[in-house]
């Protein structure tokens, strides 16, 4: 039996806050993008009304996610839930990283 199209179109969303004093700088942004690229789902990151492709380092770096910024991670695709959970965890580990 063919899977119904709706099963391939899950969406998941989570809002996270950047608490690292350095903000989401390039190294953690790359971790985020690397993680996003492990999933089949399309990943977008929203800051207020601005949205970028969560799989593109060039785009994620244009968010200016300074300390205190709220980002909404949205995934749509077969592994949307898993993608959002893993990406929220990346942000959490960045928040807990000591400044270097």
């Amino acid at each position: 039996m063919q899977p119904s199209p709706t099963q391939d179109c899950n969406t998941a969303e989570r809002t996270v806050e950047i608490r690292n004093p350095e903000g989401l700088h390039m190294r953690p942004a790359m971790q985020f993008v690397d993680c996003a690229n492990l999933y089949r789902s399309k990943v977008t990151v929203w800051k207020d009304s601005q949205s970028v492709d969560g799989k593109s380092i060039m785009q994620v770096t244009t968010l200016i996610a300074i300390q205190g910024t709220q980002l909404t991670i949205r995934a749509s695709g077969p592994d949307a839930e898993a993608a959002v959970a893993a990406l929220a965890e990346v942000i959490e580990s960045v928040n807990n990283e000591t400044s270097d």
Binding site: G23, H25, T61, T62, L63, I64, Q67
Partner: protein, 160 residues
């Protein structure tokens, strides 16, 4: 933020001599010292720290672009320069392809928000294929300075 606010025009190197990542980083940092924007005695330490940063994860982000950057004690204002290489440089990039345009940024420690703004401004331009293409084709310092100026003006007009 405008590129011209932190890019040091006199330090732009249109034809990089080095072919390795480390040579390129040294060439650009030396050029900033020659332009009087960083102390000559700081060059070795800045080069070393930039290379350490690259070792943690390449800033070669693909599409022929690398953006080596660090925060450094000796810097009080965000200071950057650009280098172009016709031959291409191995930067251990994400896409494994050679790098033709290197945008180097030094930031002070005390203003991480402004550092992110400067990076945003770089990437906003680098995302545009036209900007990347023109940068790669630039053969003189003047051409790169013009490109920066045009990019700043276009950004201002679009209200970004």
């Amino acid at each position: 933020m405008k590129l011209s606010e932190f890019m040091v025009k006199e330090a732009i190197v249109a034809q990089l001599q080095g072919t390795s990542r480390d040579e390129t980083i040294r060439e650009l940092v030396a050029s900033l010292a020659q332009a009087g924007r960083i102390g000559t005695e700081q060059v070795d330490d800045i080069v070393e720290k930039l290379i350490e940063r690259e070792a943690q994860g390449s800033t070669g982000i693909g599409k022929g672009i690398a953006v080596p950057h660090i925060k450094h004690d000796s810097v009080t204002e965000i200071t950057g320069t650009i280098g172009c290489s016709a031959a291409g440089i191995d930067f251990n990039s994400l896409d494994k392809a050679p790098v033709y345009s290197v945008l180097l940024l030094l930031s002070p420690w005390n203003n991480p928000d402004r550092h992110l703004e400067a990076m945003e401004s770089l990437f906003a331009h680098l995302q545009r294929e036209r900007f990347r293409k023109f940068l790669r084709q630039s053969e003189t310092q003047e051409a790169i300075i013009d490109l920066i100026q045009e990019a700043d003006e276009a950004q201002q007009e679009s209200g970004l």
